[in-house]
Protein backbone atom coordinates (compact mmCIF):
# COMPACT_ATOMS: atom_id res chain seq x y z
CA UNK A 1 0.00 0.00 0.00
CA UNK A 2 2.91 2.29 0.72
CA UNK A 3 4.07 1.76 -2.82
CA UNK A 4 0.72 3.09 -3.90
CA UNK A 5 1.36 6.35 -2.12
CA UNK A 6 4.80 6.69 -3.63
CA UNK A 7 3.48 5.80 -7.05
CA UNK A 8 0.73 8.38 -6.85
CA UNK A 9 3.17 11.01 -5.69
CA UNK A 10 5.68 10.37 -8.43
CA UNK A 11 2.95 10.36 -11.07
CA UNK A 12 1.70 13.69 -9.87
CA UNK A 13 5.27 15.02 -9.69
CA UNK A 14 5.96 14.02 -13.27
CA UNK A 15 2.75 15.57 -14.50
CA UNK A 16 3.47 18.95 -12.99
CA UNK A 17 7.22 18.94 -13.75
CA UNK A 18 8.08 20.32 -10.32
CA UNK A 19 10.70 22.91 -9.64
CA UNK A 20 12.65 23.06 -6.40
CA UNK A 21 10.55 25.27 -4.11
CA UNK A 22 12.41 28.22 -2.63
CA UNK A 23 12.97 28.42 1.11
CA UNK A 24 10.72 31.50 1.12
CA UNK A 25 7.74 29.62 -0.26
CA UNK A 26 8.28 26.55 1.96
CA UNK A 27 8.76 28.54 5.16
CA UNK A 28 6.57 31.56 4.40
CA UNK A 29 4.59 31.37 7.69
CA UNK A 30 7.70 30.66 9.73
CA UNK A 31 9.51 33.62 8.23
CA UNK A 32 6.55 35.84 9.08
CA UNK A 33 6.66 34.64 12.70
CA UNK A 34 10.43 35.10 12.85
CA UNK A 35 9.97 38.64 11.57
CA UNK A 36 7.31 39.23 14.21
CA UNK A 37 9.73 37.98 16.90
CA UNK A 38 12.39 40.39 15.68
CA UNK A 39 9.89 43.26 15.63
CA UNK A 40 8.82 42.39 19.18
CA UNK A 41 12.42 42.26 20.41
CA UNK A 42 13.31 45.55 18.76
CA UNK A 43 10.13 47.09 20.14
CA UNK A 44 11.06 46.06 23.66
CA UNK A 45 14.64 47.19 22.99
CA UNK A 46 13.39 50.73 22.30
CA UNK A 47 12.08 50.88 25.87
CA UNK A 48 14.81 48.76 27.49
CA UNK A 49 18.05 48.64 25.46
CA UNK A 50 19.30 45.69 27.52
CA UNK A 51 16.62 43.59 25.83
CA UNK A 52 18.94 43.37 22.83
CA UNK A 53 21.95 42.28 24.85
CA UNK A 54 23.50 38.83 24.52
CA UNK A 55 22.68 38.21 28.18
CA UNK A 56 19.00 38.73 27.50
CA UNK A 57 19.08 36.47 24.44
CA UNK A 58 20.58 33.82 26.69
CA UNK A 59 17.76 34.40 29.22
CA UNK A 60 15.17 34.01 26.49
CA UNK A 61 16.72 30.80 25.19
CA UNK A 62 16.96 29.31 28.67
CA UNK A 63 13.41 30.31 29.58
CA UNK A 64 12.02 28.95 26.31
CA UNK A 65 13.91 25.62 26.21
CA UNK A 66 11.34 23.49 28.13
CA UNK A 67 8.48 25.07 26.17
CA UNK A 68 10.26 24.48 22.85
CA UNK A 69 10.76 20.79 23.58
CA UNK A 70 7.24 20.31 24.91
CA UNK A 71 5.78 22.15 21.90
CA UNK A 72 7.59 19.86 19.47
CA UNK A 73 5.91 16.86 21.08
CA UNK A 74 2.50 18.53 21.11
CA UNK A 75 3.01 19.52 17.47
CA UNK A 76 3.10 15.90 16.33
CA UNK A 77 -0.18 15.16 18.09
CA UNK A 78 -1.81 18.28 16.66
CA UNK A 79 -0.63 17.45 13.14
CA UNK A 80 -2.50 14.14 13.46
CA UNK A 81 -5.65 16.09 14.37
CA UNK A 82 -5.43 15.20 18.07
CA UNK A 83 -4.76 17.17 21.23
CA UNK A 84 -2.64 16.41 24.29
CA UNK A 85 -3.75 18.15 27.47
CA UNK A 86 -1.65 15.91 29.72
CA UNK A 87 1.80 17.34 28.90
CA UNK A 88 1.88 19.90 31.73
CA UNK A 89 1.07 17.30 34.36
CA UNK A 90 3.52 14.82 32.84
CA UNK A 91 6.16 17.57 33.05
CA UNK A 92 5.44 18.08 36.76
CA UNK A 93 5.22 14.38 37.62
CA UNK A 94 8.48 13.68 35.80
CA UNK A 95 10.26 16.23 37.95
CA UNK A 96 8.81 14.82 41.16
CA UNK A 97 9.64 11.21 40.25
CA UNK A 98 13.19 12.11 39.22
CA UNK A 99 13.88 14.15 42.35
CA UNK A 100 12.28 11.49 44.55
CA UNK A 101 14.41 8.78 42.97
CA UNK A 102 17.56 10.80 43.62
CA UNK A 103 16.45 11.52 47.19
CA UNK A 104 16.17 7.75 47.64
CA UNK A 105 19.75 7.16 46.56
CA UNK A 106 19.38 6.33 42.88
CA UNK A 107 22.02 7.77 40.56
CA UNK A 108 21.28 10.56 38.09
CA UNK A 109 20.92 8.31 35.04
CA UNK A 110 18.54 5.84 36.70
CA UNK A 111 16.51 8.67 38.21
CA UNK A 112 16.28 10.45 34.85
CA UNK A 113 15.18 7.24 33.15
CA UNK A 114 12.53 6.81 35.82
CA UNK A 115 11.38 10.34 35.04
CA UNK A 116 11.34 9.69 31.31
CA UNK A 117 9.33 6.54 31.93
CA UNK A 118 6.53 8.76 33.22
CA UNK A 119 6.17 10.30 29.77
CA UNK A 120 6.40 6.97 27.99
CA UNK A 121 3.80 5.37 30.27
CA UNK A 122 1.33 8.24 30.16
CA UNK A 123 1.89 8.69 26.42
CA UNK A 124 1.20 5.00 25.93
CA UNK A 125 -1.95 5.16 28.05
CA UNK A 126 -3.15 8.11 25.96
CA UNK A 127 -2.30 6.26 22.75
CA UNK A 128 -4.00 3.02 23.78
CA UNK A 129 -7.20 4.68 24.98
CA UNK A 130 -7.42 6.83 21.85
CA UNK A 131 -6.46 4.28 19.20
CA UNK A 132 -7.60 0.95 20.62
CA UNK A 133 -10.53 1.96 22.83
CA UNK A 134 -11.56 4.76 20.49
CA UNK A 135 -12.06 7.50 23.08
CA UNK A 136 -11.76 11.16 22.09
CA UNK A 137 -8.26 12.61 22.54
CA UNK A 138 -9.62 15.59 24.49
CA UNK A 139 -11.34 13.34 27.03
CA UNK A 140 -8.47 10.87 27.35
CA UNK A 141 -5.76 13.47 27.81
CA UNK A 142 -7.98 15.43 30.19
CA UNK A 143 -8.20 12.30 32.32
CA UNK A 144 -4.45 11.61 32.22
CA UNK A 145 -3.82 15.31 32.89
CA UNK A 146 -5.86 15.04 36.08
CA UNK A 147 -4.30 11.73 37.14
CA UNK A 148 -0.71 12.85 36.52
CA UNK A 149 -1.35 16.17 38.29
CA UNK A 150 -2.74 14.28 41.25
CA UNK A 151 0.16 11.80 41.30
CA UNK A 152 2.62 14.71 41.25
CA UNK A 153 1.28 15.63 44.68
CA UNK A 154 0.85 12.10 45.94
CA UNK A 155 4.44 10.92 45.34
CA UNK A 156 5.89 13.43 47.78
CA UNK A 157 2.75 14.35 49.69
CA UNK A 158 2.78 17.71 47.93
CA UNK A 159 6.23 18.77 49.10
CA UNK A 160 8.65 20.32 46.65
CA UNK A 161 11.95 18.45 46.48
CA UNK A 162 15.45 19.77 46.12
CA UNK A 163 18.02 17.89 44.05
CA UNK A 164 21.27 17.45 45.93
CA UNK A 165 23.19 15.64 43.23
CA UNK A 166 26.18 17.93 42.53
CA UNK A 167 26.45 17.18 38.81
CA UNK A 168 22.84 17.06 37.74
CA UNK A 169 22.91 20.67 36.55
CA UNK A 170 25.15 19.51 33.70
CA UNK A 171 22.19 17.97 31.88
CA UNK A 172 20.77 21.45 31.25
CA UNK A 173 23.65 23.85 31.62
CA UNK A 174 26.70 21.74 30.75
CA UNK A 175 28.33 22.02 27.34
CA UNK A 176 28.81 18.81 25.35
CA UNK A 177 29.87 21.12 22.50
CA UNK A 178 32.04 23.91 23.94
CA UNK A 179 30.27 27.25 23.83
CA UNK A 180 26.86 25.70 23.26
CA UNK A 181 24.83 25.01 26.42
CA UNK A 182 23.11 21.64 26.42
CA UNK A 183 19.61 23.10 26.60
CA UNK A 184 20.25 24.89 23.30
CA UNK A 185 21.85 21.78 21.82
CA UNK A 186 18.87 19.61 22.75
CA UNK A 187 16.45 22.13 21.25
CA UNK A 188 18.46 22.25 18.03
CA UNK A 189 18.74 18.47 17.74
CA UNK A 190 15.05 17.86 18.37
CA UNK A 191 14.01 20.62 15.97
CA UNK A 192 16.28 19.52 13.12
CA UNK A 193 15.45 15.83 13.52
CA UNK A 194 11.73 16.44 13.74
CA UNK A 195 11.68 18.89 10.83
CA UNK A 196 13.62 16.39 8.72
CA UNK A 197 11.38 13.48 9.69
CA UNK A 198 8.19 15.44 9.07
CA UNK A 199 9.32 16.74 5.67
CA UNK A 200 11.53 14.02 4.24
CA UNK A 201 10.73 10.68 5.86
CA UNK A 202 7.72 8.69 4.69
CA UNK A 203 6.67 7.83 8.22
CA UNK A 204 6.83 11.54 9.05
CA UNK A 205 4.42 12.32 6.21
CA UNK A 206 1.98 9.81 7.69
CA UNK A 207 1.27 12.23 10.56
CA UNK A 208 0.07 14.84 8.04
CA UNK A 209 -1.96 12.32 6.06
CA UNK A 210 -3.76 11.14 9.18
CA UNK A 211 -4.41 14.73 10.27
CA UNK A 212 -5.77 15.65 6.83
CA UNK A 213 -8.04 12.63 6.54
CA UNK A 214 -7.72 9.54 8.73
CA UNK A 215 -10.08 7.61 6.45
CA UNK A 216 -8.10 8.41 3.32
CA UNK A 217 -4.87 7.62 5.16
CA UNK A 218 -6.27 4.25 6.21
CA UNK A 219 -7.38 3.48 2.65
CA UNK A 220 -3.89 4.35 1.44
CA UNK A 221 -2.49 1.71 3.77
CA UNK A 222 -0.98 4.01 6.35
CA UNK A 223 -0.93 2.36 9.78
CA UNK A 224 -3.21 4.97 11.33
CA UNK A 225 -3.49 3.47 14.82
CA UNK A 226 0.22 2.81 15.21
CA UNK A 227 1.12 6.26 13.94
CA UNK A 228 -1.33 8.03 16.25
CA UNK A 229 -0.14 5.87 19.14
CA UNK A 230 3.44 6.90 18.36
CA UNK A 231 2.42 10.57 18.29
CA UNK A 232 1.12 10.42 21.88
CA UNK A 233 4.13 8.46 23.13
CA UNK A 234 6.49 10.99 21.54
CA UNK A 235 4.48 13.87 23.01
CA UNK A 236 4.56 12.37 26.52
CA UNK A 237 8.26 11.59 26.29
CA UNK A 238 9.13 15.07 25.08
CA UNK A 239 7.12 16.57 27.95
CA UNK A 240 9.08 14.37 30.34
CA UNK A 241 12.37 15.42 28.83
CA UNK A 242 11.36 19.08 29.19
CA UNK A 243 10.60 18.31 32.85
CA UNK A 244 14.04 16.76 33.32
CA UNK A 245 15.74 19.81 31.83
CA UNK A 246 13.87 22.11 34.18
CA UNK A 247 14.75 20.04 37.25
CA UNK A 248 18.37 20.07 36.10
CA UNK A 249 18.22 23.85 35.68
CA UNK A 250 16.69 24.84 39.02
CA UNK A 251 17.71 21.69 40.95
CA UNK A 252 14.26 21.57 42.43
CA UNK A 253 11.03 19.77 41.60
CA UNK A 254 7.58 21.23 42.22
CA UNK A 255 4.21 19.55 41.79
CA UNK A 256 2.78 22.56 39.97
CA UNK A 257 5.82 23.30 37.80
CA UNK A 258 4.13 22.45 34.50
CA UNK A 259 0.68 23.83 35.28
CA UNK A 260 0.90 26.76 32.88
CA UNK A 261 2.93 25.02 30.18
CA UNK A 262 0.24 22.93 28.53
CA UNK A 263 -1.73 25.87 27.13
CA UNK A 264 1.49 27.66 26.22
CA UNK A 265 2.67 24.62 24.25
CA UNK A 266 -0.60 24.40 22.33
CA UNK A 267 -0.46 28.16 21.74
CA UNK A 268 3.13 27.89 20.48
CA UNK A 269 2.13 25.22 17.99
CA UNK A 270 -0.83 27.27 16.74
CA UNK A 271 1.26 30.45 16.51
CA UNK A 272 3.74 28.35 14.53
CA UNK A 273 1.15 27.76 11.83
CA UNK A 274 -0.37 24.42 12.81
CA UNK A 275 -4.10 23.94 12.55
CA UNK A 276 -5.99 22.41 15.47
CA UNK A 277 -7.97 20.44 12.90
CA UNK A 278 -4.77 18.67 11.88
CA UNK A 279 -2.74 18.15 8.73
CA UNK A 280 -0.48 21.21 8.99
CA UNK A 281 2.39 22.51 11.08
CA UNK A 282 6.15 22.46 11.20
CA UNK A 283 8.81 21.97 13.84
CA UNK A 284 10.44 25.29 13.02
CA UNK A 285 7.07 27.02 13.32
CA UNK A 286 6.42 25.48 16.74
CA UNK A 287 9.86 26.54 17.95
CA UNK A 288 9.29 30.09 16.72
CA UNK A 289 5.88 30.07 18.39
CA UNK A 290 7.48 29.05 21.70
CA UNK A 291 10.14 31.72 21.26
CA UNK A 292 7.49 34.33 20.55
CA UNK A 293 5.61 33.50 23.74
CA UNK A 294 8.83 33.70 25.74
CA UNK A 295 9.83 36.98 24.10
CA UNK A 296 6.43 38.43 25.01
CA UNK A 297 6.81 37.32 28.63
CA UNK A 298 10.37 38.64 28.70
CA UNK A 299 9.30 41.96 27.19
CA UNK A 300 6.41 42.40 29.61
CA UNK A 301 8.83 41.84 32.50
CA UNK A 302 11.56 44.09 31.11
CA UNK A 303 9.21 46.97 30.39
CA UNK A 304 7.58 46.46 33.77
CA UNK A 305 4.02 45.88 32.56
CA UNK A 306 1.87 44.11 35.14
CA UNK A 307 2.41 40.40 34.49
CA UNK A 308 -1.33 39.79 34.48
CA UNK A 309 -1.31 41.40 31.02
CA UNK A 310 0.85 38.58 29.67
CA UNK A 311 -2.19 36.44 28.89
CA UNK A 312 -3.86 39.25 26.95
CA UNK A 313 -0.68 40.07 25.04
CA UNK A 314 -0.11 36.38 24.23
CA UNK A 315 -3.72 36.07 23.06
CA UNK A 316 -3.28 39.08 20.82
CA UNK A 317 -0.04 37.61 19.44
CA UNK A 318 -1.85 34.37 18.58
CA UNK A 319 -4.52 36.37 16.78
CA UNK A 320 -1.91 38.33 14.83
CA UNK A 321 -0.01 35.12 13.99
CA UNK A 322 -3.16 33.39 12.76
CA UNK A 323 -4.09 36.43 10.66
CA UNK A 324 -0.57 36.62 9.20
CA UNK A 325 -0.79 32.93 8.37
CA UNK A 326 -4.21 33.36 6.79
CA UNK A 327 -3.20 36.32 4.61
CA UNK A 328 0.20 34.87 3.67
CA UNK A 329 -1.65 31.99 2.00
CA UNK A 330 -3.94 34.21 -0.08
Amino acid sequence: MNTKVQHMTSKSDNASAPRMPSIFSVYRSELAIAAACVVLLVGVGIFVPAALSSGNFSNILQASAPLVIMSLGVLIVIITGGIDLSVGSIFSLTGMVTALAMANGFDEVTSSLAGLAVGVIFGSINGILITLVGLAPFVVTLITYAVAASLAFIVTNGRSLGVNSPDYWLLNSGEMIPGLPNFVLFCLIFTIVLEFVLRKVTAGRWFYSIGSSPVAAYLLGIPVKRTRFAAYVISGTMASFAGLLTVSYILNAEATAGASLMLQAIAAVVIGGASLSGGTGSAIGAVLGALMITIIQNGVNLIGINSFWQGSVTGLAILVAVLIDRFSHQ
Partner: protein, 320 residues
Protein backbone atom coordinates in the same frame (compact mmCIF):
# COMPACT_ATOMS: atom_id res chain seq x y z
CA UNK B 1 -48.16 -7.84 79.64
CA UNK B 2 -46.50 -6.25 82.69
CA UNK B 3 -43.39 -8.22 81.89
CA UNK B 4 -43.37 -6.91 78.32
CA UNK B 5 -43.78 -3.26 79.50
CA UNK B 6 -40.97 -3.76 82.03
CA UNK B 7 -38.72 -5.18 79.33
CA UNK B 8 -39.45 -2.30 76.95
CA UNK B 9 -38.85 0.28 79.71
CA UNK B 10 -35.61 -1.42 80.69
CA UNK B 11 -34.45 -1.45 77.08
CA UNK B 12 -35.36 2.22 76.63
CA UNK B 13 -33.57 3.13 79.85
CA UNK B 14 -30.43 1.30 78.79
CA UNK B 15 -30.47 3.05 75.40
CA UNK B 16 -30.79 6.45 77.12
CA UNK B 17 -27.97 5.64 79.55
CA UNK B 18 -25.78 4.46 76.69
CA UNK B 19 -26.49 7.65 74.73
CA UNK B 20 -25.67 9.76 77.78
CA UNK B 21 -22.40 7.94 78.29
CA UNK B 22 -21.59 8.38 74.61
CA UNK B 23 -22.32 12.10 74.82
CA UNK B 24 -20.02 12.41 77.82
CA UNK B 25 -17.24 10.61 75.91
CA UNK B 26 -17.88 12.52 72.67
CA UNK B 27 -14.77 14.04 71.16
CA UNK B 28 -14.84 17.39 69.48
CA UNK B 29 -14.13 17.38 65.77
CA UNK B 30 -12.33 20.24 64.08
CA UNK B 31 -12.51 20.72 60.32
CA UNK B 32 -9.72 22.44 58.46
CA UNK B 33 -10.89 24.02 55.20
CA UNK B 34 -7.86 24.88 53.04
CA UNK B 35 -8.06 27.19 50.02
CA UNK B 36 -6.01 24.59 48.12
CA UNK B 37 -3.50 21.97 49.10
CA UNK B 38 -1.19 22.35 46.09
CA UNK B 39 0.91 24.91 47.97
CA UNK B 40 3.25 23.82 50.74
CA UNK B 41 2.09 26.63 52.99
CA UNK B 42 -1.47 25.35 53.36
CA UNK B 43 -0.24 21.82 53.93
CA UNK B 44 1.87 23.11 56.77
CA UNK B 45 -1.07 24.98 58.30
CA UNK B 46 -3.00 21.69 58.02
CA UNK B 47 -0.17 19.95 59.84
CA UNK B 48 -0.40 22.49 62.66
CA UNK B 49 -4.17 22.05 62.98
CA UNK B 50 -3.81 18.27 62.96
CA UNK B 51 -0.98 18.33 65.49
CA UNK B 52 -2.86 20.58 67.94
CA UNK B 53 -6.13 18.68 67.47
CA UNK B 54 -4.38 15.46 68.41
CA UNK B 55 -2.83 17.12 71.44
CA UNK B 56 -6.24 18.40 72.56
CA UNK B 57 -7.97 15.07 71.92
CA UNK B 58 -10.00 16.35 68.98
CA UNK B 59 -10.82 14.49 65.79
CA UNK B 60 -9.61 16.11 62.57
CA UNK B 61 -11.14 16.32 59.11
CA UNK B 62 -9.81 18.20 56.14
CA UNK B 63 -11.40 19.79 53.07
CA UNK B 64 -9.91 21.71 50.16
CA UNK B 65 -11.74 24.48 48.34
CA UNK B 66 -9.60 24.32 45.17
CA UNK B 67 -9.50 28.13 45.18
CA UNK B 68 -13.25 28.30 44.57
CA UNK B 69 -15.54 30.30 46.91
CA UNK B 70 -18.44 28.04 45.89
CA UNK B 71 -16.50 24.90 46.80
CA UNK B 72 -15.51 26.58 50.06
CA UNK B 73 -19.17 27.11 50.92
CA UNK B 74 -20.00 23.53 49.94
CA UNK B 75 -17.20 22.32 52.22
CA UNK B 76 -18.63 24.30 55.14
CA UNK B 77 -22.07 22.75 54.56
CA UNK B 78 -20.61 19.26 54.33
CA UNK B 79 -18.64 19.86 57.54
CA UNK B 80 -21.79 20.97 59.38
CA UNK B 81 -23.76 18.01 58.02
CA UNK B 82 -21.01 15.74 59.17
CA UNK B 83 -21.34 17.19 62.67
CA UNK B 84 -18.02 18.99 63.15
CA UNK B 85 -17.83 21.19 66.23
CA UNK B 86 -15.36 23.81 65.03
CA UNK B 87 -13.82 25.09 61.83
CA UNK B 88 -10.33 26.39 61.09
CA UNK B 89 -10.22 27.96 57.67
CA UNK B 90 -7.75 29.46 55.25
CA UNK B 91 -10.29 31.23 53.06
CA UNK B 92 -10.01 31.42 49.28
CA UNK B 93 -10.10 35.20 49.74
CA UNK B 94 -11.11 37.62 52.46
CA UNK B 95 -14.07 38.78 50.37
CA UNK B 96 -15.47 35.24 50.19
CA UNK B 97 -15.95 35.01 53.95
CA UNK B 98 -19.18 36.93 54.87
CA UNK B 99 -21.73 34.30 53.67
CA UNK B 100 -19.58 31.54 55.10
CA UNK B 101 -19.42 33.20 58.51
CA UNK B 102 -23.19 33.80 58.53
CA UNK B 103 -23.83 30.15 57.76
CA UNK B 104 -21.45 28.87 60.45
CA UNK B 105 -22.77 31.38 62.99
CA UNK B 106 -26.34 30.10 62.35
CA UNK B 107 -25.08 26.65 63.20
CA UNK B 108 -23.18 27.90 66.26
CA UNK B 109 -19.82 26.67 64.97
CA UNK B 110 -16.77 28.56 66.23
CA UNK B 111 -14.50 29.63 63.36
CA UNK B 112 -10.83 30.59 63.39
CA UNK B 113 -8.96 31.92 60.38
CA UNK B 114 -5.41 30.83 59.66
CA UNK B 115 -3.13 32.55 57.15
CA UNK B 116 -5.72 34.79 55.50
CA UNK B 117 -8.16 36.80 57.61
CA UNK B 118 -11.86 37.68 57.11
CA UNK B 119 -13.16 40.65 55.20
CA UNK B 120 -12.62 43.85 57.19
CA UNK B 121 -15.71 44.72 59.20
CA UNK B 122 -16.67 41.09 59.93
CA UNK B 123 -16.94 40.29 63.63
CA UNK B 124 -18.83 36.98 63.83
CA UNK B 125 -15.78 34.75 64.14
CA UNK B 126 -13.74 33.42 67.03
CA UNK B 127 -10.23 34.31 66.00
CA UNK B 128 -8.08 35.40 63.07
CA UNK B 129 -4.50 34.15 63.22
CA UNK B 130 -2.46 35.76 60.47
CA UNK B 131 1.00 37.13 59.85
CA UNK B 132 1.53 40.81 60.41
CA UNK B 133 2.22 41.54 56.76
CA UNK B 134 2.57 45.30 57.07
CA UNK B 135 5.12 45.12 59.89
CA UNK B 136 6.97 42.36 58.03
CA UNK B 137 6.97 44.49 54.88
CA UNK B 138 8.51 47.34 56.87
CA UNK B 139 11.16 45.13 58.48
CA UNK B 140 12.00 43.23 55.30
CA UNK B 141 12.13 46.46 53.30
CA UNK B 142 14.52 48.00 55.82
CA UNK B 143 16.81 44.96 55.81
CA UNK B 144 16.73 44.68 52.00
CA UNK B 145 17.71 48.33 51.75
CA UNK B 146 20.57 47.78 54.20
CA UNK B 147 21.84 44.92 52.03
CA UNK B 148 21.72 47.11 48.92
CA UNK B 149 23.67 49.88 50.64
CA UNK B 150 26.25 47.42 51.98
CA UNK B 151 26.79 46.44 48.35
CA UNK B 152 27.31 49.99 47.20
CA UNK B 153 23.93 50.85 45.70
CA UNK B 154 20.41 51.94 46.51
CA UNK B 155 18.36 50.24 43.78
CA UNK B 156 16.22 47.31 44.86
CA UNK B 157 13.86 45.03 42.95
CA UNK B 158 10.91 43.01 44.16
CA UNK B 159 9.44 39.63 43.24
CA UNK B 160 5.94 40.00 44.55
CA UNK B 161 2.88 37.93 45.26
CA UNK B 162 -0.08 38.91 43.08
CA UNK B 163 -1.15 42.37 44.19
CA UNK B 164 -4.83 41.45 44.16
CA UNK B 165 -4.19 39.79 47.52
CA UNK B 166 -4.68 41.81 50.66
CA UNK B 167 -1.57 40.36 52.33
CA UNK B 168 0.56 41.27 49.28
CA UNK B 169 -0.73 44.84 49.37
CA UNK B 170 0.18 45.11 53.04
CA UNK B 171 3.68 43.70 52.45
CA UNK B 172 4.17 46.18 49.61
CA UNK B 173 2.89 49.14 51.61
CA UNK B 174 5.31 48.37 54.44
CA UNK B 175 8.20 47.75 52.06
CA UNK B 176 7.64 50.96 50.11
CA UNK B 177 7.58 52.98 53.33
CA UNK B 178 10.80 51.32 54.49
CA UNK B 179 12.55 51.95 51.17
CA UNK B 180 11.51 55.61 51.21
CA UNK B 181 12.57 56.06 54.84
CA UNK B 182 15.94 54.40 54.31
CA UNK B 183 16.84 56.00 50.98
CA UNK B 184 16.39 53.09 48.56
CA UNK B 185 14.68 53.11 45.16
CA UNK B 186 12.29 50.30 44.32
CA UNK B 187 12.99 50.16 40.58
CA UNK B 188 10.77 47.25 39.58
CA UNK B 189 8.06 44.96 40.95
CA UNK B 190 7.29 41.71 39.13
CA UNK B 191 4.23 39.79 40.26
CA UNK B 192 4.06 36.02 40.17
CA UNK B 193 1.26 34.09 38.55
CA UNK B 194 2.36 30.52 39.04
CA UNK B 195 4.28 30.69 42.36
CA UNK B 196 6.94 28.40 40.94
CA UNK B 197 10.72 28.63 41.24
CA UNK B 198 11.12 28.42 37.48
CA UNK B 199 8.94 31.47 36.97
CA UNK B 200 10.86 33.33 39.68
CA UNK B 201 14.21 32.51 38.01
CA UNK B 202 12.95 33.99 34.75
CA UNK B 203 11.56 37.07 36.50
CA UNK B 204 14.77 37.61 38.49
CA UNK B 205 16.79 37.34 35.27
CA UNK B 206 14.51 39.87 33.56
CA UNK B 207 14.70 42.18 36.57
CA UNK B 208 18.50 42.10 36.55
CA UNK B 209 18.63 42.61 32.78
CA UNK B 210 16.36 45.65 32.92
CA UNK B 211 18.06 47.07 36.01
CA UNK B 212 21.69 45.96 36.22
CA UNK B 213 22.35 48.31 39.16
CA UNK B 214 19.96 46.48 41.46
CA UNK B 215 21.88 45.53 44.58
CA UNK B 216 19.19 43.67 46.53
CA UNK B 217 16.07 41.67 45.75
CA UNK B 218 13.03 41.54 48.01
CA UNK B 219 11.30 38.15 47.69
CA UNK B 220 7.73 38.27 48.95
CA UNK B 221 7.23 34.48 48.85
CA UNK B 222 9.46 31.49 49.30
CA UNK B 223 9.92 30.48 45.65
CA UNK B 224 10.97 34.06 44.85
CA UNK B 225 13.99 33.64 47.12
CA UNK B 226 14.99 30.35 45.50
CA UNK B 227 14.47 31.81 42.01
CA UNK B 228 16.48 34.96 42.74
CA UNK B 229 19.30 32.91 44.25
CA UNK B 230 19.41 30.68 41.16
CA UNK B 231 19.44 33.65 38.75
CA UNK B 232 22.24 35.31 40.71
CA UNK B 233 24.28 32.11 40.84
CA UNK B 234 24.00 31.74 37.05
CA UNK B 235 25.27 35.30 36.63
CA UNK B 236 28.08 34.86 39.16
CA UNK B 237 26.46 37.45 41.42
CA UNK B 238 25.82 35.34 44.52
CA UNK B 239 26.42 37.58 47.52
CA UNK B 240 27.02 40.60 45.31
CA UNK B 241 23.28 41.20 45.13
CA UNK B 242 21.48 40.67 48.43
CA UNK B 243 18.34 38.53 48.67
CA UNK B 244 15.69 38.54 51.38
CA UNK B 245 12.65 36.31 51.42
CA UNK B 246 9.41 35.88 53.33
CA UNK B 247 7.89 32.51 54.39
CA UNK B 248 10.83 30.08 54.68
CA UNK B 249 11.20 26.42 53.72
CA UNK B 250 13.90 23.73 53.84
CA UNK B 251 15.04 24.92 50.39
CA UNK B 252 15.52 28.56 51.38
CA UNK B 253 17.07 27.59 54.72
CA UNK B 254 19.73 25.68 52.80
CA UNK B 255 20.25 28.70 50.53
CA UNK B 256 20.62 30.86 53.63
CA UNK B 257 23.26 28.51 54.99
CA UNK B 258 25.04 28.57 51.61
CA UNK B 259 25.13 32.38 51.61
CA UNK B 260 22.88 32.64 48.54
CA UNK B 261 20.16 34.36 50.60
CA UNK B 262 20.92 36.86 53.36
CA UNK B 263 17.77 36.74 55.45
CA UNK B 264 14.46 34.87 55.83
CA UNK B 265 11.39 36.38 57.47
CA UNK B 266 9.72 33.22 58.68
CA UNK B 267 5.98 32.91 58.45
CA UNK B 268 4.78 30.45 61.05
CA UNK B 269 2.45 28.29 58.95
CA UNK B 270 2.39 25.38 61.41
CA UNK B 271 2.12 27.90 64.26
CA UNK B 272 -0.92 29.54 62.68
CA UNK B 273 -2.64 26.16 62.48
CA UNK B 274 -1.74 25.42 66.11
CA UNK B 275 -2.93 28.78 67.41
CA UNK B 276 -6.15 28.76 65.39
CA UNK B 277 -7.04 25.28 66.68
CA UNK B 278 -6.34 26.34 70.26
CA UNK B 279 -8.68 29.29 69.78
CA UNK B 280 -11.65 27.22 68.54
CA UNK B 281 -11.02 24.70 71.33
CA UNK B 282 -11.11 27.55 73.84
CA UNK B 283 -14.41 28.69 72.35
CA UNK B 284 -15.87 25.18 72.68
CA UNK B 285 -14.74 24.80 76.29
CA UNK B 286 -15.64 28.33 77.40
CA UNK B 287 -12.04 29.46 77.83
CA UNK B 288 -10.79 32.91 76.83
CA UNK B 289 -10.29 33.62 73.11
CA UNK B 290 -8.43 36.35 71.24
CA UNK B 291 -10.11 37.65 68.12
CA UNK B 292 -7.13 39.15 66.31
CA UNK B 293 -3.72 37.50 66.49
CA UNK B 294 -1.22 39.10 64.09
CA UNK B 295 1.94 37.04 64.44
CA UNK B 296 5.28 38.70 63.82
CA UNK B 297 7.52 37.16 61.17
CA UNK B 298 10.94 36.91 62.77
CA UNK B 299 14.07 37.56 60.71
CA UNK B 300 16.71 34.84 60.76
CA UNK B 301 20.13 35.47 59.21
CA UNK B 302 22.69 32.89 58.17
CA UNK B 303 24.75 33.41 61.33
CA UNK B 304 21.73 32.67 63.57
CA UNK B 305 20.25 29.72 61.71
CA UNK B 306 21.58 27.06 64.09
CA UNK B 307 20.67 28.93 67.29
CA UNK B 308 18.04 27.56 69.68
CA UNK B 309 15.86 30.60 69.06
CA UNK B 310 15.92 29.99 65.29
CA UNK B 311 15.16 26.29 65.77
CA UNK B 312 12.16 27.21 67.91
CA UNK B 313 10.90 29.53 65.16
CA UNK B 314 11.47 26.96 62.42
CA UNK B 315 9.51 24.34 64.36
CA UNK B 316 6.47 26.59 63.91
CA UNK B 317 7.15 27.13 60.19
CA UNK B 318 7.04 23.67 58.60
CA UNK B 319 6.71 20.07 59.84
CA UNK B 320 10.01 18.76 61.18
Amino acid sequence: MKKLVKTILAAAASVLIAQGAHAADKKFTVAYIAPSLDIDYWQWVAHGVQQKAKELGMDYVEYTSENSPAKQMDNARVAVTRGVNAVVIGPVSSTSTPPLLSFLAQNKIPVAFAGIGPQPGQTNFTSSVTANNYETGLAQGKYTCELAKERGGKEVGMLSLPQDRENAQKYLKGAKEAFAANGCDLVQILETKGLTINEAVTQANDLLTAHPNVKAIYGMYDQAGSGAAKALATRGLTGKVGVTVADGSPTTIQLLKDGAIQGIFFQEAVGQGIDATQQVYNALTGAKTTQNMALVMPLVKAADIDSDAAKKVIARVFPQ
